[in-house]
């Protein structure tokens, strides 16, 4: 199948004062290549500092890669200027780790959901409102929550709202940047199920970024393990978990609680 996203030799170096973390020299992304077919889920797994989030930002057009190509829908995103990028942005949306800071604290749920539509000049006032209310129901929230502030929602509800916001522009790709990591276990499972339902009903392509190998295996069709800016191992979850080739993968597996030596595969597989 023709890939929806094709990343080729992507390099990102932070320069000068913009270096995040401890200012360690070296590219955040070092010759990363992979591709994702439409409707599939690719999990990007790695320890913190391995370049996962930088990759997410590059794919979402929020950071400019130093070199390389990101082919999406016939365009190379890297080569687009800001104006052209604006037309592509709605198709690639992000969901962040922390549902508190990723929602504007001054907006009500309704405002959060209609704002992307206003920004992209879509629909009239009533259409936007109707779409926002529908989205609330899509992610398992009730219409009555539309007028609530984000402070009146629980962590899980907020993450649902963040997912609804990401869906409001009817994207093709969702980048889930540690989207489950800040939630507690039971909520994690609920949101994971929600994501799977949404994927089948909206034909979404997911890039699931996480450090949690088990969750990655549960949700994805393919896993790419990242270490120090490189993709060091790639394959179907079963293979990666059963026969890890790279040391970074083994480290990640050792970090899975309750499965120090031989990690069990989740039942869903």
């Amino acid at each position: 199948m023709q890939p929806l996203i094709q990343v080729e030799h992507l390099v990102k170096c932070y320069s000068g004062r913009n270096v995040p973390g401890d200012g360690e020299v070296g590219p955040a992304l070092n010759d990363v290549s992979f591709s994702v077919a439409p409707g599939r889920t690719l999990a990007l797994v790695g320890e913190s500092g391995s370049g996962k989030s930088t990759l997410a930002l590059c794919l979402a057009g929020l950071e400019r890669p130093t070199s390389g190509r990101i082919n999406f829908g016939g365009h190379d995103i890297v080569a687009l200027d800001e104006k052209q990028l604006r037309a592509v942005r709605p198709q690639i949306q992000l969901v962040f780790q922390d549902p508190v800071s990723s929602l504007n604290p001054r907006f009500t749920a309704l405002e959060i959901l209609t704002e992307p539509l206003i920004v992209q000049r879509r629909g009239g006032r009533n259409e936007r409102r109707e779409r926002a209310l529908t989205l609330l129901e899509c992610v398992g929230l009730s219409r009555e929550m539309a007028d609530r502030g984000t402070g009146e929602l629980s962590g899980g509800q907020r993450q649902r709202l963040a997912i609804a916001r990401a869906l409001s522009l009817a994207p093709k790709v969702l980048i889930l940047d540690e989207a489950l990591s800040a939630l507690d276990c039971s909520v994690q499972a609920q949101i994971a199920n929600l994501l799977m339902e949404l994927q089948s009903s909206f034909a979404l392509t997911y890039l699931f970024i996480t450090h949690d190998l088990v969750m990655a295996a549960h949700l994805s069709d393919e896993i790419a393990v990242m270490d120090r800016g490189r993709v060091v191992e790639q394959g179907v979850p079963e293979k990666v978990l059963r026969a890890p080739e790279h040391e970074a993968t083994r480290r990640l597996m050792a970090a899975v609680p309750g499965s120090n030596v031989t990690p069990r595969l989740p039942r869903a597989l």
Binding site: G16, A60, L62, T108, V119
Partner: protein, 324 residues
Amino acid sequence: MRFLLRRLIHAVFLLFGVSILTFLFSSLAPGDYFGEMRLDPHIAPETVTALRAQYQLDQPLPVRYARWMKSVVHGDLGFSFSYNSPVGPLLWVRARNTLLLTVTATLLTWGLALPLGVWSAERLGHLPDTLISWTMAGLLVVPDLALALGLLLFAVRSGWFPTGGLASIGFDSLSPLDKLRDLALHMILPVVVLVLTALPLVVRHVRAAMAGVLDAPFLRAARGHGIRRHRLLYRYALPAAANPLISLFGFSIGALLSSSLLVEVVMSWPGMGPFLVEAILSRDLYVVIGGVLLSTLFLVAGNFGADLLLYWADPRIRTEPEAK
């Protein structure tokens, strides 16, 4: 609403407190308006005593305070010995001139500081930010007195600006448009001094507050929707950074008011500054108290305005009392 009511009650108590304290302190200072007369051999001591009695300066403090409060209710604010008339009307004309300066300067300061600070924060560590930061640091180290004197020198040398006062001679015979122009020309120098002294602090705060929120994930999400730069900065980021700035707005009014008093004296602007200095030197008791009280009132009103703004700007504060 409870939030605002609480603030209003605070303000009233504050004004009371200030009035009592200024009364106390001014009575602690030795001597009074008639003190110098005693040194004059031509004036009999009995006359001075009679005068003091006439103006009720011989009464005990609580009585004087009560009488003064009564006159405050009437809007007189006590009686000026040197002008021989109630303080209220005297003060009001000058307060209007002072307000003209400070309100203009406040608006201008914030009008300049917001875009400068936002721009600086957006380009953090880059050329615009460095330039703005250095300029502001430079302005910060120049004392306002030096700035005022320097600009006065400039006005004298260049002859482009009037060197003091509020209006030219023959102001009354000018047409309304010319009157406005004349007033504006007189205002330029004092307002420039005030703005330049207040600007660095405000710009730095705007920059810091904005820099703090510009990395927030919800702004990233908004950029991911393809939001335009202007909308991102002013509809998303600025409101998120606004709370400390709104409080600063209240304080900046106070700061501008107090530097205005100095600038007025230096640039002979007929506001409260020169009036108060003169009153303090001649121990014109009630003018001093009235002036201090009026300045406090402006300050309190400014802060209350800031609270109102905060209440209006932040939905979280509006819902706070119900949540508790």
